[in-house]
Symmetry: C2
Subunit: 239 residues, 2 copies
């Protein structure tokens, strides 16, 4: 079995489900179905490990050797599944955008800004809690100039933002929101919620490990929701 091989520096060894190591002479007789599932399993495992390494070291700082080592695979296998480091990185970014997009849907065109904004803030906080590494990869990419995300930003994020700007302006006109600059409000929501993922290490150092525990995180989420709603001056239409 590969996990027992002497050639994998064992330090942060990844205990994978099982697939991949099963390579024996029997493989040639395997059905395509089986092969496809090996591919899917190895790919997603590599993607998860890549996300962690890109989060810790940025694109340039990450090495395919380290990613492969974390995945418990030889480096050559990584290049078998992803031809280049950049191709792997793009797949990670694509995955992240899909999650971002799912959270974005919660900011719906409801007539109640309290529900829409509150729901969106909760979804973004939950995403920060559930996938902090992904948030860090995104942050790293933007900090480095967003070279590989121009397409996503311009074709996917920008249209979404513009539709929400219109929505926010309507709420303001209806007196359901204070006269805020819509983009400033959106940036504040992004910045504040993503801070709990991206600046995890700082929060841990300053506020202690407890600050990021499940119960505490939930309380913080409600606190953030309250503060954002107050900042935006949102009120429910029937209140």
């Amino acid at each position: 079995m590969r996990d027992d091989d002497t050639d994998t520096p064992a330090a942060n060894l990844a205990v994978r489900p099982s697939a991949g190591q099963a390579a024996t002479k029997a493989d040639k007789a395997d059905k395509p179905r089986r092969k496809a599932s090996i591919r899917a399993s190895n790919e997603s495992h590599l993607l998860a490990c890549a996300e962690a390494v890109f989060a810790e070291r940025g694109f340039e700082g990450a090495s395919t050797a380290l990613i492969a080592e974390r995945a418990g695979l030889p480096k050559a296998n990584l290049h078998y599944y992803f031809p280049t480091k950049l191709a792997l990185y793009w797949r990670v970014l694509d995955d992240l955008f899909e999650e971002w997009n799912a959270a974005a849907d919660t900011f719906d065109a409801s007539s109640d800004p309290v529900a829409a904004i509150g729901g969106y803030v909760r979804a973004k906080m939950e995403l920060s809690r559930r996938r902090p590494l992904g948030s860090k990869v995104w942050a790293n990419e933007i900090i480095s100039g967003a070279t590989h995300m121009q397409d996503i930003l311009l074709k996917r994020v920008k249209p979404w933002m513009e539709s929400r700007v219109t929505l926010i302006e309507r709420w303001i006109a209806e007196g359901l929101l204070a006269p805020v600059e819509p983009k400033t409000l959106l940036f504040m929501i992004w910045a504040t919620t993503q801070h709990y993922a991206d600046f995890e290490a700082q929060i841990r150092a300053l506020a202690g490990k407890r600050a990021l525990s499940a119960a505490s995180f939930e309380a913080t989420t409600e606190e953030v929701v309250k503060m954002i709603l107050r900042a935006s001056g949102a009120r429910s239409p029937n209140a």
Copy 2:
């Protein structure tokens, strides 16, 4: 004044005043004074270029070769002034903390939370505008696990934060602030203001270049101040 410094993170290239190449045989006859100023000039120029490269590529992704090239110096000279890449990085982080610290002072123990919080938000926004590369280096360092900043965070930032938490709690007790979680408020201020430096590339892509122009930035600053003050429920004691 800081604003007039020539060595502020001067984007890319590297047209230095002159020092460095001026090395001729006359050097040996130069006074110590002259040598010291060459050292100071080269050091600060290298620090500025290092800040830019660390911001763009993170610590691991940055190369001393690129930093030296930006500075217009051979790589060996960089190692003459800074023995290791890590030593150079530490100097950059130290410099950044000093700036952070200066801005932190504006959050004074005034009896008026509107003035104290508003002033602090403005100082942080101004820092994001004036030194975005520095903010990016800080962000990168934290995202990567804050390995090299534990000391600064624990010995300098944490005591500051705790004193402000006490202050905020006093304002709340005096009814000058809504009953907010003090740390959540501080994190929101940091996240929102630093977003304008760290996520510059995203803002540029989504809101256009104009969004970061001087006039627009000033308007955004006041918008952010208003929103933070509303989020915290601050009111002046004599109002």
